[in-house]
Symmetry: C2
């Protein structure tokens, strides 16, 4: 997902509230729970049992006495548990740990460091779409990521060294299994709702099919029952870019002088191209497009291409190139290349139809609760037609589902940026869960 700060030029957008705002959840501290130990390892789809497994999560708002007002937010590929407010452990702009949360400073200096605050603060807080005056909002980092939950950069107890590529393959179903353990840990039998966009939306689907009794309202944004072939193909090319980096070292780069940053940067560029729409790109980048003749006449020097491997190519002659370079540079500071391999694989593997032996209609028969499925007209990573397949399957099983195809130029990133529209939908949907759910 893109940095929400990069909204379309000229479009009004909501930004995060400062920590002292009445609409902010304020300073928050990530929490950790040990959810699998040698005595109680986590069984994985690949057949292995993993232990220990520690999960990083955050909560905003209070759990009520009945423990029935919890909403679980599921994050996407490059997200983390830090979905709202300001991370109290990361206050100074110079506090960055490798692959730690987006590092922010409340005075705005984060911008200079290419950082951005929490990824969905616009939606979570007192009086917001997910209103923390009423709900206890929870978000946990997924297994295999690099933001506090056990992943390839964690120490393997068997060797005392980072797992690297000996970390087991993980799946969306594994993630959801772990989310269920977190709910047990927190003493929550049933969620009021779960919500997520992109790969987070696929976790919502999986939660609804694997644990249908544990969630009343399910919000699937910009996500479909499985990734398109195009998406799988682009992930494949992106993984190659990481693995072919001269510093990849078979994934064992944690103690090396350099890491496969350039490869990860290329992977991120490919990702970002899928997060925007061509229409959105035109609005944003065309005004700065210089005449081709100007670019060529003496401005373009092929020697500038000839940086050493691991460096970045300058010659950002088009605004879209500069944009991608910035995104890549920001990303390599905050993400683990191995995690990118594992999480994109989980994304590729996911297929909700597996619950129905390949038949999505049969899979959807397992569902309970009320569903909201929202797609965005210009999203080509999870195109509207593919999102709608979920709604159709639920509908065919007489499940209560609302499907909305939201007009937007933002492409896939719309689930982060179409805040006003989503807020209206989500507030209404959450009320409906109380009334009918």
């Amino acid at each position: 997902m893109s940095d929400p700060a990069n909204a379309l030029v000229g479009r009004k957008k909501r930004s995060s509230d400062p920590p002292d705002s009445p609409r902010s959840v304020g300073w928050v501290t990530p929490q950790h729970a040990l959810l699998a130990s040698a005595a109680n390892p986590l069984p994985l789809d690949c057949g292995r049992h993993l232990a220990p497994v520690s999960v990083e999560y955050e909560t905003y708002g209070a759990l009520n006495a009945a423990r029935d007002n919890a909403i679980l937010i599921l994050h996407a590929l490059s997200g983390d548990a830090h979905v709202a407010g300001w991370d109290a452990t990361n206050q100074a702009p110079d506090c960055a740990r490798p692959w730690r949360h987006w590092c922010v400073a409340p005075d705005g200096s984060d911008r200079e460091h290419g950082k951005s605050p929490n990824w969905w603060d616009t939606m979570i807080g007192p009086g917001k779409a997910f209103d923390t005056n009423h709900f206890c909002v929870i978000c946990a980092n997924v297994l295999g990521s690099c933001y506090g939950t056990t992943g390839p950069s964690s120490l393997d107890p068997a060797t005392g060294r980072p797992y690297g590529l000996s970390f087991p393959a993980v799946t969306v179903r594994d993630w959801v299994r772990l989310h269920a353990r977190l709910l047990d840990h927190l003493g929550i039998d049933q969620l009021y709702a779960a919500a997520g966009g992109s790969l987070g939306g696929q976790q919502v689907i999986e939660l609804g099919l694997a644990f249908p009794e544990r969630v009343r309202g399910l919000m699937v944004l910009a996500a479909s029952p499985r990734l398109s072939n195009q998406g799988i193909a682009l992930n494949y090319a992106a993984r190659h870019a990481i693995i072919n980096d001269p510093w990849f070292a078979r994934g064992d780069y944690y103690d090396a002088a350099r890491r496969p940053d350039a490869g990860l940067g290329i992977a991120r560029m490919i990702g970002h191209i899928t997060y925007l729409s061509e229409m959105g790109m035109e609005l944003r980048f065309d005004p700065g497009r210089r005449p081709s003749a100007d670019l060529v006449r003496g401005l373009y020097d092929p020697h500038r291409l000839a940086l050493e491997p691991g460096g970045y190519v300058p010659g950002n002659e088009f605004d879209v190139e500069s944009y991608l370079t910035r995104q890549a540079e920001g990303f390599i500071e905050r993400f683990d290349p191995n995690s990118y391999l594992y999480i994109t694989k989980a994304m590729d593997y996911y297929s909700a139809a597996d619950w129905g032996d390949g038949d999505l209609g049969r899979a959807a028969a397992r569902a309970r609760g009320r569903w909201l499925v929202a797609s965005f007209t210009s999203d080509w990573l999870y195109p509207p037609a593919s999102c709608r397949r979920l709604a159709d399957a639920l509908c065919a099983n007489s499940q209560p589902v609302t499907y909305v195809n939201i007009e937007s130029d933002y492409g896939h990133d719309a689930f982060l940026l179409e805040v006003d529209t989503l807020e209206r939908l989500i507030v209404g949907f959450l009320e409906g869960v109380a009334r009918h759910g």
Copy 2:
């Protein structure tokens, strides 16, 4: 462009005719012309003057006495002058020179070697769309390529070594300037027609604007007045993949033990994703898509990802992955990574509107002749709406233009594969040039 052999499963497709068929132009031998020398160098848009410049070209059919029956075919990114028939210099399956033409054997053994015959034989020959009984068809390799025309792998006379990245930046306009010199060399004042798809189509546009009096009929297929931002962005990521390859060596890899093959392979993967449509991919790859659970259960071993840099990742768990791997492997045998950098840059730079100081309408006022603009419904590299902009601009200048948006699942590759439809259109268009042109 893709290997035309890879048509959608189950779709009837035309294949090349064997060399002894009456519909084949038979055995052909590439020719070479020295079109720029120290005394008469080729001026380039970047400001440099290049010499010597040798061009490889092929001709099929005879030039008539009036020298007015020539049709120039312009090739795309990875194409060459060998557009029809069988290359007499490349008869044996073991004859491959690096980056030489697709190496073919008439007995079909080419398939085993991952090779494919000439790239548009289906369209050129006696009785075909470009009927060599009536027309003299010419195709020349572009400047900067690796198929016989001067490019980065050619020897720099100043050093006696391959140019590598000291080769000057080239543009579509430079190519067309060189095509004009070839026409002079062949004694052709005015072409009967010019035709090309993709980057070849952009050469047709440029030919029509730079030398409007030198061509009567212009056929622009799957090409627009400029590349989309999405296209520029994907080319940018692809070039990074080449440059970040551990064997790139600042482009000076010609005498090295290894070349940046894996990087070029990744670039080719990215390219191929843009040549197909998601709809076409679903038809082709979905039938083989295994249940996710099967893939994960013991089949997926992250260790398989850990090949050394320069190797290829196995674990082609999805058919689309295997497809991309095959395309990449075939491509690295036949293309120069430096040429890929130069030609994609030319593709990015191209903007027909430069002739009108950024105003396509004004640029189109220079046009003469009759135009055919054809787009394909599922092409997202040069989407129909972008191709139509050319037709609109020509129309607004009262130029005779026919615009067709052809229904196809083939994506961008449709210009190679929708042979029947294109044949009907082209035959009619060429008759129209005679009648009205």
